[in-house]
């Protein structure tokens, strides 16, 4: 069974040669790692860096939209920034952060000797990283969906394909670990709830990301041979845009439920009431897969005849509201477990709980977005939904690192900063999203930074959003700096790897 990783600082007893060889050795060790904790740490660290960059992108866009009649940033760059924000939130931040947590934690939870196909997961990490770099390069050179440079648009599609391939490899490793490497006697029902959520999320990604890849192949071949069957450069978004919106984005948020339920279950040190309900709740959230693979949005319009309303209402409810029901079930059962008088509150619970709250708010916003009577299509409302879900994932990631980190790396993170930064992160998420819920109803157009107008305090909503993104960048930077310092030289933790499990049998 994998053991707690005792961190030790790199020491150099004599001269720069020893220091350089230790540094080179560390780099080489990370490049060729097959240890799941190391791979997980790489994924979480790099996605945290991308989270800071993404939040800065959001801040720039918010500031740019304060005054629609003037512009600070060039118009071409603005178009790329809007697209980059959507891509980065999902594929550079939320998905790899949750997968990194799964890679680090799941083998220890299920009692495996190692992550299944660890080198494949490591290769997946490099594919993902290289893909993100290619996508970033394409954005910097006027690529991306709707970009003006055709070759850079091709580069964007190739980069996105590599990102998807990388995420698929990592998901396969995680899912195989849960299914094939559990310790003897552990049935799937007895699997710790975070591992269950990691399994569900991984399988969901394995089912939906290839559908994106299929569309990318068609668009890439069509675009590379200068045909316009798929709408040329402008059509890229039409064919793969569904991967950047609801319900597809719910899939990357599935592990947030596992994080919350895991923290609550081990906090209470007692049997989780209606544990099977937790498993069902997590599974319900994965019904988003069915909506995603249709590659279309399920909307409802309440102004038609009763028959027409009913025909659109049933798929609308099924695809948009079933995942929400799953979140409510997990939240409800987690709060029920907290009624246990033996419950000992953990600072990590706060960001984890608030993270799920933000994801839920985004999901509810997503279902409102699909009611066509509100006329929210092509407004900033959709951007707010995306930010709520993805920043909710980041908050949950903060809670997870604060909770699982000491149990894996053997050193404590101080509770005060976790609590404070969790609350600040919550404030940042609300600031970065809620104003756009309001501005969406006021018809502020999406992906437009200049030459728009509507009645209302345009400057207020956009400056709040800019401030929210800037605050989130600060929160992520501070938290991961504190975590890095604590895991290297913090207080030795009294928690053990046994604390990774909840009591299944009482």
């Amino acid at each position: 069974m994998t053991a707690i990783d005792s961190s030790h600082s790199a020491t150099s007893s004599s001269g720069s040669i020893a220091t350089r060889s230790t540094l080179l050795g560390t780099i080489a060790a990370y490049l060729t790692a097959s240890d799941h904790k190391r791979i997980g740490r790489l994924l979480i660290s790099v996605s945290a860096i991308f989270a800071i960059a993404t939040a800065i992108e959001g801040a720039i866009l918010g500031i740019e939209r304060i005054s629609p009649s003037s512009s600070i940033v060039d118009a071409d760059i603005i178009v790329q920034l809007f697209s980059a924000l959507r891509f980065d939130l999902i594929f550079s931040v939320a998905a790899p952060m949750m997968l990194g947590l799964a890679v680090a934690v799941v083998p220890m939870q299920v009692g495996a000797r190692a992550l299944a196909f660890a080198r494949s997961a490591m290769f997946g990490f490099y594919l993902w990283l290289f893909g993100v770099i290619l996508v970033g390069s394409s954005y910097l050179n006027n690529g991306g969906p709707g970009g003006g440079n055709a070759e850079m648009v091709d580069l964007f599609l190739i980069g996105l394909g590599l990102v998807i391939a990388g995420l698929l490899l990592i998901s396969t490793s995680v899912a195989t670990t849960v299914l094939a490497s559990r310790r003897a006697g552990m049935t799937l029902i007895e699997t710790p709830i975070f591992s269950w959520s990691a399994l569900v999320a991984s399988v969901s990604m394995l089912l939906t990301l290839p559908v994106v890849a299929g569309a990318i192949i068609y668009v890439a071949v069509d675009h590379a041979y200068e045909r316009a069957t798929f709408g040329a450069t402008e059509g890229v978004n039409a064919w793969i845009g569904w991967a950047f919106t609801t319900p597809q984005i719910f899939i990357v948020a599935i592990p947030t439920l596992g994080v919350l339920a895991q923290i609550v279950a081990t906090m209470t040190r007692g049997k989780q009431p209606l544990r099977a309900g937790l498993l069902i709740g997590v599974g319900l959230m994965s019904t988003a897969v069915i909506g995603a693979v249709t590659q279309s949005s399920q909307t409802v319009n309440f102004s038609g005849s009763a028959n027409d309303v009913l025909k659109s209402l049933i798929p609308y409810l099924f695809f948009n509201h079933l995942p929400i029901l799953g979140v409510f079930i997990v939240l409800g059962l987690s709060l029920l477990a907290l009624k246990n008088e033996r419950a000992k509150l953990n600072a990590a619970f706060v960001p984890a709980f608030l993270g799920v709250g933000m994801v839920l708010t985004g999901m509810i916003g997503g279902s409102v977005f699909r009611i066509t009577n509100f006329k929210l299509a092509n407004t900033v409302f959709e951007e707010a939904v995306l930010v709520y879900v993805c920043y909710g994932v980041v908050l949950s990631g903060i809670g997870a690192v604060a909770y699982f980190g000491p149990r894996i790396w053997g050193r404590e993170i101080p509770s005060g900063p976790v609590l404070g930064l969790g609350l600040l992160g919550f404030l940042a998420t609300v600031l970065a999203s809620l104003p756009y819920f309001i501005a969406g109803f006021a018809d502020q157009p999406a992906s437009v930074a200049n030459n728009f107008d509507y009645s209302g305090p345009i400057w207020l909503w956009n400056s709040l959003v800019g401030a929210g993104h800037a605050l989130m960048a600060l929160v992520v930077l501070l938290f991961f700096a504190i975590a890095a310092k604590s895991f290297r030289s913090g207080t030795v933790s009294s928690a053990t790897s046994a604390d990774l499990f909840e009591s299944v049998n009482g």
């Binding site: 094939a180 394995l206 299929g214 068609y218 071949v221 200068e226 045909r227």
Partner: protein, 189 residues
């Protein structure tokens, strides 16, 4: 351990099925939205999807379909032999699977050659090359799997049932996926 290779093969099969499935779904969507035209004999209205001057070489496509059946039978023979620790027959079976996969690639290239169409020539051609080339890549992945199982069998690990079973599962999945593609692209046109 609960047969991790078989589980990975299951996931790989699902990924391949979703990939080709999504491409076929988009293909069908384009086909159903194509405008109507009159057939050359003036007898009926057809979807203007497959250009009139293009003929699908049905001998090659049907041969591919039948070759997949042989591939599946040989892959299952490898499992049967592996279960009995019979490395000679397991290696032979896997070798035949490899040969059939080479034949499949050869047949697909022959189809391209006989159709004589360019990828830029039209919407149908671009999408045709995209979906069939993706299928070709999936066959190449299966070939890699076969090579891995073959080398392990030759090296004496014929009793490694997990990997040989996983290989057989993937062969079945690829055959089923090709059957869907064959029906939609080559039969229904």
């Amino acid at each position: 351990m609960r047969r991790p290779a078989l589980i990975v093969s299951g996931f790989l099969s699902a990924v391949s099925a979703m990939l080709i499935g999504s491409m076929l779904a988009i293909w069908l969507d384009f086909r159903s939205n194509a405008p109507l035209r009159e057939s050359t004999d003036g007898g009926k209205m057809l979807r203007d999807w497959l250009p009139e001057n293009i003929k699908i070489p049905e001998v090659a496509t049907n041969t591919m379909m039948m070759t997949f059946v042989i591939t599946c039978v040989m892959a299952q023979w490898a499992v049967y032999s592996s279960r009995r620790n019979d490395s000679k027959h397991a290696s032979l079976a896997l070798g035949v699977v490899l040969l059939t996969e080479i034949a499949l690639i050869n047949a697909q290239l022959a189809i391209y050659s006989q159709m004589g169409i360019g990828v830029r020539d039209g919407s149908y051609m671009t999408m045709f090359y995209a979906v069939t080339a993706t299928m070709l890549v999936i066959i190449v992945v299966c070939m890699g799997f076969t090579l891995l199982a073959l080398f392990r069998s030759i090296a004496g690990r014929a009793g490694d049932l997990d990997l040989v079973s996983a290989h057989a599962l993937y062969c079945y999945a690829v055959s089923a996926i090709f059957a869907a593609l064959w029906f939609v692209v080559y039969v229904q046109k």
